[in-house]
Structure formats: structure tokens, C-alpha cells
């Protein structure tokens, strides 16, 4: 009894005292902030908003492992230099300025020599023909300021694929120095155009993204349009005007096989693969209208997605396959709509002046690119899937048919200057910077970028 009382007595006076002490402590702590802050931390100097600047990078010629490898070593170096330069994010330094000649890539370079020419990154490499006939490619990426090796790889390949090796190395460098996936090891299918304007021959053609290794897939007897790459396989779908109505075809790049997708009455057009490559979505003509259909390539079963008295066309899936964007004139003028991939109610996302067409969803999912027509001009632009953030990247007499690079950072499109000439291909960063012409043998239109090959 007694001790219990004692404790209770103790408690009552102590409790208020503790409270006040706590308050005192917190007060002291806050005092500590004032006095302790400057004493313990050093000055923080804010350096805000530097301007973006391309990274100065030195790419000396790769070392030839054997005397006969000199040519391929120089070739690989040039392809890498060209890739990085075209990206607009790097400023390769002219080889004439180099002080040091790299002869052995296994030893660390003399970084002082590279600092002198203001290089911030350095690529060294070696190409060696192996006894078994394969080609061995090695490279190292160095940080000149810290002397660290940022990345390094070696590859074995058949000698004829040396360009691909160069593209793969370019992607490695790009990814390590920008934090983004590269896009150099990819191909572009496009419509090659030759001949006079009235009798233009249009052939399906395939090339590396830098314009090399052009290869023709059709002979040009029939008109071909809107080729599209499969996201997962080496297949292309496109529209061809045969003897009757235009039809959607499927073409295997490796085997050269082609087949008609489905057998529908009337026109079928503007096909595109689903992200898994297992389905093709396209427009089917029905009287004066057209609606969206999706066809499963395995079961050949067809599902109708829209049923409107309007022209619904140019469908394109989101990379996750849950939604798709398309063009429709159900509101009067062609505009871009987004709807669930299984059909249902569509939501209009483009509200600017003029008409919007050929929407294509970025492989990253963050933007939808489109062609906009208005004010006597054709523009290429991007818009977020919720309809915000619209921006025009380029405008002119005729720009059309945007397609995303595999990393979603670059768009390719075709531009027709008008007159007696013909269209050619261009790339532009999705910020609107760094517009570049893509070299093609003749006129070119309707490009479609492949996914990364590796």
C-alpha cells in the first residue's frame, strides 16, 4: 500500500515537470539548429540550369589486331563516329587534333593528352580476325577526367556484319553516356521511289538506320504503301495495290515470304502490329466508312473494334497493348482518338486547329506522334496520350508519316519539298532539335523504324 502511494505521489509532481522539461529540450534542440547548422555543414553553392551541350568525345581509329584488319578497324570507327555525331548529343573531336596515337588498348591511355584537346570521353578499340575466320571486336569507353573505364565489351561476329558491331558499340556508348537506351542497331523499312513523277516506281526497301545496306524487298510492279515493322519479329506488314483492291500483306524479311492478311471484301489498309507481334490491327472499308479490326495472326480470327458511320483509320497500339490511338473524322474533321485495345468508348485527344492524322504511339509510351495539316502546311508533332503537351517539331510544305526510333527519343518522317522533286527521309529529336536528312539512294517515303535488333 505504502510504496504504491509513494509512487503515485511521485508521479503527480514529476509528470508536469517532465512535460516542461521536454518542452525545454525541444526548445534547446531548435536552438541547436540555429547554432549547429552553419557550424557543421559547409557552404552549399547552387549551380543552376547549365545549358545542354554535346559531349566532346574522342574516337581514335580502332587498332588493327592483324595487318589485314586495318580497313575494317577504320570502318568501324567511322560508323561509330557518324552515329554519335548524328544523334546530336555528342561532338566527336576531329582526329587531326589528336596528340596521342592509341596502339595498345590494353594499357590505360595517357589522359593528359586527351584532356589537352578537351575530350571528356575516349573510345579505344581493336578489331582482330580470329584464326577461325570470325572477327573479334573489343572496345573501351574511358572517362577522361577521372581516368575511369566506364564500359568495355568484346564481340565475335562474321566479318560481313562489321557494321552491326559498330552500331552495337555505338549503342553501348550512347547508353552509358546519356542514360538512355540506344537506337543505332536498328533498321528502317521505307518506300523507295524512282522515276518521273507521273510514272513513279515504288519499291519496298530496307536499310540500316544510318542509310547503309539498302536492300529491296519488292520489284516495284505494284504500288506499295505504309510498311510497318513487327515489334518482335523480323516481319513487315504493308499495303499493296494489286490487281484489285488494296490489301494488307505480311512479309518475312529473312525468308522473303509474303502473304495476304485475311481475305476481306473491299479495301483493307493502314495495318500495324500489336506490341507482341501476334496481331495486326487495320482498317476495313465498308461502303463510305471504314472501321478498325484486329486480326489474330495465329487463329486468323477477326474482331471488330469500332462501328461508326465515320472513317476510322491509322490505328497504333500503346507499347503495353492496353490502349490504342487512331484517327477518325467522327467529329467532323480527322482528329486523334484514344480508346481501350478491346474497343469501347474513344476519347478525343487532339483539339488544335486543322486536322490530325497518322498517329503513332511511342515505344516508351509517353507520346503519340502525328501529322498535322493546317494553314497550308503539314507538320510533324507529338502529344501526350492524355491530350496535353502538344508540340510541333517541324513544319513545311509536306511532312508526313512519323515513326519512332526504338528508344522513343528520335522520330523519322518523310518530307516532300514539292515541285518536280520527290520526298526524302529526315530524323528529328522529339524536342525538335537536331533535324537530319537520312541518306537514301533515291526518293523515299513512308519510313518505319524497326525495334532494336539485339
Amino acid at each position: 500500500m505504502k510504496p504504491l502511494q509513494m509512487t503515485e505521489k511521485d508521479r503527480t509532481p514529476v509528470m508536469p515537470f517532465r512535460l516542461s522539461r521536454r518542452q525545454l529540450l525541444s526548445g534547446m534542440a531548435s536552438l541547436g539548429v540555429i547554432t549547429g547548422g552553419p557550424a557543421f555543414g559547409q557552404k552549399r553553392l547552387i549551380i543552376p540550369e547549365g545549358d545542354f551541350a554535346p559531349l566532346p568525345i574522342a574516337i581514335p581509329n580502332f587498332v588493327a589486331g592483324t595487318p589485314s584488319d586495318g580497313e575494317v578497324a577504320v570502318g568501324v570507327t567511322q560508323v561509330i563516329t557518324n552515329n554519335l555525331k548524328r544523334s546530336g548529343l555528342f561532338a566527336p573531336i576531329d582526329q587531326a587534333a589528336y596528340i596521342e596515337k592509341v596502339v595498345n588498348i590494353d594499357a590505360a591511355p595517357q589522359f593528359a593528352n586527351w584532356k589537352t584537346i578537351s575530350a571528356q570521353a575516349l573510345v579505344t578499340g581493336r578489331m582482330t580476325r580470329q584464326p577461325d575466320g570470325r572477327l573479334k571486336a573489343e572496345f573501351r569507353l574511358w572517362d577522361v577526367a577521372t581516368g575511369q573505364q566506364l564500359t568495355g565489351q568484346q564481340y565475335f561476329t562474321s566479318p560481313e556484319y562489321w557494321r552491326r558491331i559498330a552500331h552495337i558499340i555505338s549503342d553501348q556508348i550512347y547508353e552509358r553516356l546519356t542514360g538512355e537506351k540506344g537506337y543505332f542497331d536498328s533498321r528502317v523499312v521505307f518506300v523507295d521511289e524512282t522515276g518521273a513523277k507521273e510514272r513513279r516506281v515504288k519499291k519496298l526497301a530496307l536499310m540500316d538506320q544510318d542509310g547503309a545496306n539498302v536492300r529491296y524487298l519488292t520489284r516495284g510492279t505494284d504500288l506499295v504503301l505504309t510498311p510497318r515493322f513487327s515489334p518482335s519479329t523480323q516481319e513487315i506488314t504493308y499495303m499493296e495495290f494489286g490487281q484489285g483492291d488494296p490489301r494488307v500483306y505480311l512479309y518475312n524479311i529473312e525468308t522473303g515470304q509474303r502473304e495476304i492478311v485475311g481475305n476481306f471484301p473491299g479495301m483493307s489498309f493502314s495495318p500495324r502490329f500489336s506490341p507482341d507481334g501476334q496481331r495486326i490491327i487495320m482498317s476495313l472499308q465498308q461502303g463510305g466508312n471504314s472501321n478498325l479490326f484486329v486480326m489474330d495472326l495465329r487463329s486468323k480470327s477477326t474482331t471488330r473494334l469500332t462501328d461508326t458511320p465515320a472513317i476510322d483509320t491509322s490505328p497504333s497500339y500503346a507499347p503495353d497493348g492496353t490502349r490504342l490511338c487512331f484517327e477518325s473524322d467522327r467529329g467532323g474533321k480527322p482528329q486523334i482518338y484514344v480508346m481501350p485495345a478491346t474497343g469501347g468508348s474513344a476519347q478525343r485527344i487532339s483539339f488544335g486547329d486543322g486536322t490530325y492524322s497518322t498517329p503513332v504511339w511511342s515505344p516508351r509510351g509517353d507520346y503519340i506522334a502525328f501529322t498535322k495539316q493546317g494553314g497550308g502546311q503539314f507538320s510533324i508533332g507529338i502529344i501526350k496520350p492524355d491530350g496535353s503537351g502538344e508540340r510541333i517539331l517541324t513544319s513545311g510544305f509536306h511532312n508526313e508519316g512519323p515513326t519512332f526510333a526504338p528508344n522513343g527519343r528520335v522520330l523519322m518522317f518523310f518530307r516532300d519539298p514539292g515541285g518536280s522533286g520527290g520526298p526524302s527521309l529526315f530524323t528529328v529529336d522529339i524536342s525538335g532539335r537536331n533535324e537530319q536528312r537520312v541518306p537514301t539512294p533515291g526518293f523515299a517515303s513512308d519510313p518505319a523504324w524497326s525495334p532494336l535488333l539485339s
Binding site: G37, P38, F40, Q42, K43, I46, I47, D143
Partner: protein, 310 residues
């Protein structure tokens, strides 16, 4: 009892230590930030000098009578100004109605004014205006008055004195349509161009003028130097608000004492690239040319490269 007392004391001590320790650790990490600041050139002047600076036109002109032109052109009436001013004069009187008594007072006050202009530029003119009160005198005082931005009150008295009663009858009315007429539409630089009067504004810069940025603080000096080497990686159009902080120690000669120590590990590839680009810049741009007087401040500090808008 003793045991209990000890417990409370121990509890108190541990609590103190905990709270204070927590305060030291958590609050000291929030260091003093140095936002980028534009330097402003500052002159230290005495009160006398300030008085001179703030003094009116009288003293200023007396001190340096002929600052702009060596030779004072022959005095000839400024035709444009005269025309405009005479037109304006009546309007001025309308808006601000000074009764006759004021007229008497103000002339006395303003007599000092006319002499000044005379002293400055138009010695020959002054006598004439004084003698011929009717027309020319009005011109000069008014022009001078306008120049001095005392437009309304000063000119009126003299104008009224010249043409006394006729104008007074007008009632004091505020005519909005005449506001425009009150504005001095003359070219502000007319005097210097004409060379007939000396331009009182002898300063090189104007009130809004800014002297060249002389980077008065070592912070802005460091920033401008490190930015030359910073090749900021392009982060796309979606802002990721990257930030990279380092702690660096500099020697007196402006070179790094050791490798800059990055704060924290970047969470995304882009943030890593961003941090690396800043690190490269810090290393590449040494030695830094910073004022030795502030060595204690810049021998150890934390540059923060950021895209965040605060």
C-alpha cells in the same frame, strides 16, 4: 528514493543526449545554401558625397559648368521648344490655378532658377527674357522648369506674371482631353544635340543602368568557371529535375585537394550520367581562380548542380 532519483536523472541525461544528438545530426545536414546571386557594384561614400549626389541641379551645374561641350554655341531661340511651350503654357495654368498672391511669392522663389540656366548655357539669352517679359522670358523659364521636372508650379507664376489677368478668369476645371497636352513631348536629348545648353546628365549610366558584372562573390566566380567545362547531358523534354551535389576541398592555388565526393548514389541512369557530367566539369576546370581573401570560405564547400526550380 535515491535509486528513483538516479533513474530520473539518468533518463533526463539520456533524453537530453538523444534529443540534442538527433538535432545535431539531422539539422546539421541541412547546410547553409548559397543561392546564385548577381553581383552589384557598390561604392562606399560619405554623407557629404551623398549630399552632393542627391543635391539638386543648382549645385551640380555650378560644380562642373561645362562637362559635355567645350564650346557653348551662340544662343539662339530654340524654335521648336518655344512653340510647344507657349502652346502648353495656358494649359498648365488652367489645370493648376494659382491665385494672384501666389504669383508674387513664386517669382521670388523662381528667380534663383532662371539664373542657373543662364550660368550654365545661355548667358546671352537671360538678359533678354528678363527685359522682355512678354514673350521670350516665358520660354526660357518654362523650358528650364520643364527640364527640372518641376513643370507645373514653377512655370505658371511667371507666365501669369507676363500675361496677368486675362487667363485667371478661367475656372479650375480638369479637362481630361488636355492631359496629353501636359506631357513634355520634346526629345529628351534635344539639349545636348543642340549644343546650346549643357546636358546636365553627365553620368555615363542611367539610373537603370547596370555596370558590368564583376562577379563580386567567389560563388559566382566558381560557377562561371565550372560552367565552361560542364557538358550537361541532354535529359529529354521530360524534366527529371536532376540534382548532383559534391563536397570539394580546394587548395590555395585553386586546384582540387582530392577527388570531389559525390553526395548520395544516383537512382536512375540519367541521374548517374548527370552526376558524372558535373564531376567531369569540376575536375576539368581546375585550377579555379577565386579571390584569396575568401579562401577560408571556398577551401571546403559543396557545389550543387541542379535543374530544380526552387
Amino acid at each position: 528514493m535515491k535509486v528513483k532519483f538516479d533513474k530520473t536523472l539518468a533518463a533526463s541525461i539520456t533524453l537530453h543526449v538523444l534529443v540534442l544528438g538527433w538535432g545535431i545530426v539531422s539539422f546539421s545536414t541541412k547546410a547553409l545554401e548559397m543561392p546564385p546571386e548577381e553581383s552589384v557594384p557598390v561604392d562606399v561614400i560619405s554623407a557629404d558625397q551623398l549630399a552632393h549626389v542627391m543635391a539638386g541641379m543648382k549645385s551640380g551645374k555650378k560644380e562642373n559648368p561645362k562637362p559635355l561641350v567645350e564650346k557653348v554655341a551662340d544662343a539662339k531661340p530654340v524654335e521648336d521648344a518655344v512653340g510647344k511651350i507657349t502652346e502648353k503654357a495656358p494649359v498648365v495654368t488652367d489645370t493648376a490655378p494659382p491665385p494672384p498672391p501666389k504669383v508674387e511669392e513664386k517669382p521670388i522663389e523662381k528667380k534663383p532658377d532662371p539664373p542657373k540656366p543662364v550660368a550654365e548655357a545661355k548667358p546671352k539669352e537671360e538678359p533678354k527674357p528678363i527685359e522682355k517679359k512678354p514673350d521670350p522670358p516665358k520660354v526660357d523659364p518654362i523650358a528650364e522648369a520643364l527640364k527640372k521636372e518641376e513643370k507645373k508650379p514653377p512655370p505658371k507664376p511667371q507666365v501669369q506674371a507676363a500675361t496677368p489677368p486675362p487667363q485667371k478668369p478661367k475656372e479650375r476645371t480638369f479637362d481630361q482631353s488636355k492631359i496629353a497636352a501636359l506631357l513634355d513631348k520634346r526629345d529628351p536629348s534635344r539639349q545636348a544635340v543642340a549644343g546650346e545648353t549643357l546636358n546636365s546628365n553627365a553620368a555615363l549610366g542611367l539610373s537603370k543602368g547596370k555596370a558590368a558584372d564583376n562577379s563580386a562573390t567567389w560563388g559566382s566566380m566558381f560557377q562561371s568557371q565550372v560552367e565552361r567545362c560542364w557538358k550537361k547531358p541532354y535529359g529529354g523534354i521530360e524534366s527529371q529535375n536532376p540534382e548532383a551535389a559534391f563536397t570539394i576541398r580546394l587548395k590555395r592555388d585553386g586546384t582540387l585537394e582530392g577527388m570531389p565526393a559525390p553526395e548520395g548514389t544516383p537512382a536512375t541512369p540519367y541521374l548517374r550520367v548527370y552526376q558524372e557530367s558535373a564531376l567531369r566539369a569540376i575536375i576539368e576546370c581546375q585550377p579555379y581562380n577565386l579571390p584569396a581573401a575568401f579562401f577560408d570560405e571556398w577551401k571546403y564547400f559543396a557545389p550543387v548542380f541542379t535543374e530544380r526550380k526552387t
